[in-house]
Symmetry: C2
Subunit: 388 residues, 2 copies
Amino acid sequence: MPVPGPFSGVTVIDLTRVLAGPFSTMILSDLGARVIKVETPGTGDDAREYGPFVNGKSAYFVSVNRGKESIALNLKDDSDRTIFEKLLDTADIIVENYRPGTMEKLGYGWEDLHVKYPRLIYAACSGFGHTGPHSKRPAYDMVVQAMGGIMSITGQPGGEPTRVGMSIGDIGAGLYTTIGMVTALYDRERTGEGRKLDIGMLDCQIAFCENAIARYGATGEIPGPLGGRHPSITPFQVFKTLDGHMIIAAGNNAMFHRFCDIVGRPDLKDDPRYESNRSRTEHQSALELEVEGILATRATADWLSELDPAGIPASGINNVEAVMAHPQVGPRKMVIEVNDPKVGKLKVAGNPVKLSGYDDPIERPTAPDVDQDRARILAELNLPTAAE
Amino acid sequence: MPVPGPFSGVTVIDLTRVLAGPFSTMILSDLGARVIKVETPGTGDDAREYGPFVNGKSAYFVSVNRGKESIALNLKDDSDRTIFEKLLDTADIIVENYRPGTMEKLGYGWEDLHVKYPRLIYAACSGFGHTGPHSKRPAYDMVVQAMGGIMSITGQPGGEPTRVGMSIGDIGAGLYTTIGMVTALYDRERTGEGRKLDIGMLDCQIAFCENAIARYGATGEIPGPLGGRHPSITPFQVFKTLDGHMIIAAGNNAMFHRFCDIVGRPDLKDDPRYESNRSRTEHQSALELEVEGILATRATADWLSELDPAGIPASGINNVEAVMAHPQVGPRKMVIEVNDPKVGKLKVAGNPVKLSGYDDPIERPTAPDVDQDRARILAELNLPTAAE
């Protein structure tokens, strides 16, 4: 049973696979919704095949499907369709990430469902959305990362094309799908009616490139990759230190002045080239030249011991092990545990939506095996549970 | 007046500056909420100083503050506090991204506000959240990109530390802030009560690294940057072509087999090293060696003309100009226009939350100047409008 939360009592029928859709319903589940995965009989969600595996079960899959239930249904089979339609009777949201047209072929398109279940919210998350000339094309995370512009602004100047290290194509679309589903739940409280939500992964990438688009719109210059620095704030970038790298983000004049003192260059405060963020950004490479040699003479931890008390945002470049050990992570419950019968205890990312009045547990239920909850779900629907 | 949408009638008092908070309230505004920016008298939102500028107005600022209103209030001044408290009487949500403790010092912390305005939702978006030992430290986008692990998995193997090209630290926190605010609106419909939402930018980065965390949890290996490929799906990566680069994402066996045919290597289908996604990922570099020479012999567009009809997700690496010209973008209304009295017409990213029953205009109102809406807002509150 899901943890109590703001979505307690909300039932989500989840046909989604791999990442974008499952990530969106994980957030609802973390906040109390009951999420029933409807999976292909046998193999189930494709992500069950994505590594790494622990005792044969995918950690990839467990991470984003914790706390959900599973029933395997063949939506082309009459008796399974009966079960599916009974499930829809009890549901608040149906969410799918098929290629557009698939649900229509099954007789479960929005137009059909809305007539039969007028309060049901229909959420679709597809590569390109349900309208437009590219609507029916397939997409994956990396396709929209490449197509949507984010790869063109990520990486070292002149270097190889670089993917954002997490699946921002999927995760980004997942977040907008969550926003849309919750918006539709709120809307239904006021209108009594279900809505269709149509999220396109490419659309979400474009929303993420808002700053690059506005820059291009304002200047006509095509933004390129900037390596480890910010396009319009200075100093706001990676610097080499004696033992590695660190980032320093002095986003306003007061911080810049304290930074100048710490690196032993108070004279820079009076240099007209560096008098405002605007002028510092115009002279970014000159400023970098003034300080990079100094920063390279001491270790990251040494610099942090002066920058932190001065209130200048700065950090070493943490790897995943270091992040998980960060002193803020435990108290924020941002690394939690699932205890899976096959995998054992697995550490996964926690829920960042901290809302007063609701519990935020540090242990969550694990992800289901394919069809694991069939008998209980059928019993709840008053359907015969024996496999005939 | 905002465009009609699911949040029509919802009023948001927005104390946020720069990016995370303003991005979160832009989504609400795009969906019909009335967002009133409460700005520091004189300078206003810091982002008004971030370039590029068109006729002195920041395109950075316009992009994420379109459709909002502005009133300048000094929250330490008694008569301005009276106005602010009158505003809170009419509000559904107050959102701020100050350093934790700032609102308490002003007498507007959650504990105080909740007593006086029990239905008001209080949303905070800070660097590290309102709890934990690092709570009061300042943060910017790049700090949490470095601290939260995403930079450790982005970039070329062995290369320089690489920032994600858009501000994923801010935008990510903004999206979770939106999810939390809408969740609290829904919750209030059922409980009648406002909640406190406490979003930490670092928390959101950890949520984004879920896959890397689960991989580390499952294997004990620290994930590093992989350049242009996916860690657990193969082939799913950048390839060099005759005239540039492209990505090919053949995420399952059927696609892989069609890919083998297109590159003229049907023999690879029968190679036991490449029989499943799991085994292909184990032998990723061997498989890359088999095909990279072939892919380099033809132009990106040539390969796309075979991959697209075969249903294999693929794309060139689009820059921002190419994305904005993509044939799917116009029909999806993902590049829209604001018409600003100073800037003129500026192209900005559209709204990806496409919800049936609501209009999704291709022109949106521009962002306000500091204090632009003072007179009208005061008149609405039945307060004297003359500056005494």
